[in-house]
């Protein structure tokens, strides 16, 4: 790569770094293709140093809105990036649905109000405990799975497990790992 090309690439990378994801999304949502392209280039900081576009002021659909999103740019998979908020939302929906189901059962069955409310609270607490355990277990299981696979794929950085495996006696080196671990 010659110097001019390298300089051009680094300048492009510098410009890319100034990209505003919110504005880029708003640009994509604009129906007029010409305007959309123009706004997209502005959002990516390719046309001027000021990446603020007129979209938010011209009814283009972009709104700063939700404070969670204004904290940081999360990337393209917002649900994964805002995992904490997603979990809270999921739990809240579960709680409401379980609760309203139990109260509906009690109402249709003409249960005494006290009994319906008691059954509802017990069900919600049980469901919350189950959901918490399930979420934590899934988290641990995936993390272990991921890092095991990552260790298997890795070759440059040798993990303690790799070192231990390579230190196996010569007769065991051709055996499947499961037989020697």
């Amino acid at each position: 790569m010659d110097n001019a090309c390298a300089a051009s690439t680094s300048e492009h990378l510098r410009q890319r770094h100034s990209r505003d994801l919110g504005l880029a999304r708003a640009a994509f949502a604009v129906e007029d293709e010409q305007v959309s392209r123009q706004l997209s280039r502005e959002a990516h900081g390719l046309l001027s140093g000021d990446a603020r576009s007129p979209v938010s002021g011209s009814g283009g659909g972009y709104k700063e809105g939700f404070s969670l999103l204004s904290l940081s740019e999360a990337g393209h998979n917002e649900e994964l990036a805002h995992r904490g908020a997603t979990l809270v939302l999921r739990g809240a929906v579960d709680g409401l649905i379980v609760s309203v189901a139990a109260l509906s059962l009690g109402d249709a069955g003409a249960w005494p109000a006290k009994m319906a409310v008691t059954v509802d609270v017990v069900l919600v607490v049980c469901w919350a405990a189950y959901s918490a355990c399930r979420e934590a277990l899934e988290n641990v299981t995936y993390e272990r799975h991921y890092y095991r696979e990552r260790r298997r794929e890795a070759w440059g950085e040798r993990s303690p497990l790799d070192i231990a495996l390579s230190a196996r006696p010569a007769f065991a080196r051709h055996l499947p790992c499961a037989l020697t671990l």
């Binding site: 939700f66 969670l68 999103l69 917002e78 649900e79 805002h82 995992r83 904490g84 997603t86 979990l87 939302l89 999921r90 739990g91 809240a92 929906v93 579960d94 709680g95 409401l96 649905i97 379980v98 609760s99 309203v100 189901a101 139990a102 109260l103 509906s104 059962l105 009690g106 109402d107 249709a108 003409a110 005494p112 109000a113 319906a116 409310v117 509802d120 609270v121 919600v124 919350a128 355990c133 979420e135 934590a136 988290n139 995936y142 993390e143 991921y146 696979e149 990552r150 298997r152 794929e153 070759w155 440059g156 040798r158 790799d162 495996l165 196996r168 051709h174 055996l175 499947p176 790992c177």
Partner: protein
């Protein structure tokens, strides 16, 4: 069961595998080789790319298992406890005995408030996923509908016994 050779250093094999993968996706072989060889100079980054491209495995979420469980548990309890507590308060406010069923108006109010809360949660989710607020609010309301209908059918059947 993994063959031991996969755990040993074998960069050439991994590079070939990635080149083959990119070639299958439509990248010309020389370009794929150039890209993969360049990425392989940063092993940590290359392993992350292999995890995504070969195994379709994203890095684990930054929220720990304990925190994830705690968030789900807390939000379920908080949002799940509000309707029955509200129902009990409304029931007592109408000065009806605890042994009597819920007043129809109390139950209707409860359903309406739950619907509003679910709609609001749908709007919050729309803000995270950049989708139409109305659509996601309706989706959450749609989740509640079969639950309420089935619960009412079951309650009606139980009442007949």
């Amino acid at each position: 069961m993994l063959p031991c050779s996969e755990l040993d250093n074998f960069p050439e094999g991994e590079i070939s595998e990635m080149i083959e993968l990119y070639t299958r996706k439509g990248l010309p072989e020389p370009a794929a080789r150039q890209v993969v060889t360049a990425m392989a100079t940063a092993p940590d980054f290359f392993v992350d790319v292999m995890m995504l491209e070969e195994l379709k495995m994203a890095p684990p979420p930054s929220v720990s298992a304990l925190a994830a469980g705690a968030r789900v548990c807390a939000s379920t309890v908080v949002c799940g406890i509000v309707p029955p507590l509200g129902a009990m308060l409304a029931h007592r406010a109408s000065q009806v005995a605890d042994s009597a069923p819920l007043e129809p108006s109390t139950y209707a109010l409860l359903l309406a408030l739950t619907a509003v809360a679910l709609g609001y949660l749908g709007v919050l989710r729309a803000a995270i996923t950049h989708q139409a607020k109305t659509r996601l609010a309706m989706q959450y309301l749609g989740l509640a509908l079969p639950t309420v209908v089935l619960a009412r059918v079951a309650g009606g059947l139980l009442d007949q016994f």
